[in-house]
Assembly symmetry: C2
Homo-oligomer: 359 residues x 2
Amino acid sequence: MLPRTARLTVLKAICRPHPRSHARSFASSRPCADRAVIYSENGDPSKVLSVLTFPDLPPPGSDSVTIKFLLSPINPADINVIEGVYPSKPIKTGALASSGKGSEEEPVFVGGNEGLAQVTAVGSSVSSPKINDWVVVTKQQHGTWSTRKNVAVTDVALVPDAHKLDEAQAATITASVNPPTAYNMLNDFVRLEKGDWVVQNGANSAVGQAVIQIAAARGLKTINLIRNRENVELLKFQLGQLGATHVLTYDDLSDKSTRGKIKEWTGGKDITLGLNCVGGKETTLMSRLLGQDAHLVSYGAMSKQPLSLPTSLFIFKNLTCHGFWQSRWYKDKTSQERDKLMRTLVNMLADGQVRCCSG
Amino acid sequence: MLPRTARLTVLKAICRPHPRSHARSFASSRPCADRAVIYSENGDPSKVLSVLTFPDLPPPGSDSVTIKFLLSPINPADINVIEGVYPSKPIKTGALASSGKGSEEEPVFVGGNEGLAQVTAVGSSVSSPKINDWVVVTKQQHGTWSTRKNVAVTDVALVPDAHKLDEAQAATITASVNPPTAYNMLNDFVRLEKGDWVVQNGANSAVGQAVIQIAAARGLKTINLIRNRENVELLKFQLGQLGATHVLTYDDLSDKSTRGKIKEWTGGKDITLGLNCVGGKETTLMSRLLGQDAHLVSYGAMSKQPLSLPTSLFIFKNLTCHGFWQSRWYKDKTSQERDKLMRTLVNMLADGQVRCCSG
């Protein structure tokens, strides 16, 4: 099972975590102890998930911070993790309670991979972030469906210029993997200049919509592929409003005249970047639109079909195929690089270049 | 049609090109004028090829050299070029005759892409190569099935230390694309250290045999995949003699116990480079042997089946897929880089690290 780019749902913090907090959070009139959505073994989420109430956390260690979650998204991949079919596996924690569930004797998994949180306490060696700063959790499968937790400072990234955003914007643009995925795929593989062309499938996915907007903000042209459907013209119009240069269905792609049409659009300029979240024969067709020395980047496989490409594309057109996984990006990059990404995305949102992306 | 790595046949020079020449060449008792194997249109080689006799060449231009061919290989791809089904297309020449076939009025194709030649005259601006030096033609589809021709100095590479080699060795190791293909694929994609592992299919092809020998000379370990056949044990033994660490058939690969066996061989070390000239399901199976951050390089498609890979390999194992084409390598590299490659290969052959590779 692969990370699908389907609808992003934002989970409200389970309850207001601490009565002393005056920071913004989703209102709950009744203060309560900390709570987390936990499970002890993989399975159907509706059967294995439960809510655990746990006492006040200890103060953070010298290199850690205490954070309270403001908004924790639910991504389809989170469900796959609970089911046990996702390649990145969480580690059980025994730090929630001194006895029973969540204790060292009975450690549990905490659900959730993404989250926007506010710092409520900092360890003695921590200079940044500071108390009240907003951060996102960048370490994979850290367990974000929790009111509060202590985390190593290296496992979070500061949301810069947070005053420019409200919580939902900050959670969507930074805590979600979708806008960073779109931004990095447009940035890391091919040096694209204004007027260059990008082709993508699954263009109406959350990542696809972010790609359209970020590309448009950079002056890049996009050819966007979607499935045929009722009211397809409405969807084409909506993607056009976001900044899509052209939108085609996979049926259009099978039509031989389409390649000629695309050549007219591009003026014969090579398309050097393709973004794929579908796989299967639609992606084979899309890859034939790519020009010399192009790169095809896969970040999903919604069709559940493999990527099947004629070897001649590799040998004679010098195609290179990569995968992209935002979790690996966070792991491989320095905190400076992560901060820079956050700042860029926040400013794109604040400047109105990118709106929130819905799936 | 793709460049197959099948048997390399060495074409004798059509006849001794010039009576004044004292250089080594395949003996022909009767001097004759220059001749070339030509064709005017694509088609079945047995029907479209003919031999054209042409008068003495003019002296080379200031940046050109006159070369006489000593040995010009026939590669299966040459046949595809004549048939017109190969992506790299030759250009017709009108420089062979002043009238009739091969003249400006009736230009023709000259067959052949690879060739070992000796310099017989140099233009006024040429400092290297010198008269009597051996060179190989590196420009694609230059037409090497000819006794002599004038070529731009940028379209040939000097065979360094030529005294260490005989003609057949020089033609096999340097004029053929196979040993350079093997050398570059082991060099250009992954930084491999002594003791690192490489897996390849089509291991008994000319390129495959060169890979085995060059890898062994570098202290790399190889897992080599071949088709099952009668006397497969004999072939396994022969590849072992060349330096193959392990040889498996594709049938072995389908056996689930094989992955465990390979893990034992490698001590669990990731295999980071895979070389593919087959495509199809055998390559899908092979790609599953690759470890984290591996590169899969395709240089042929003998099964004529596409490369079909699960998207999860790209996303979660960070697989990168490339193609390799020696013709592009020559085109993209500087003459210094081409010279360095030649010197390295010549010395590997002279030192006995690599024998001639037969398909």
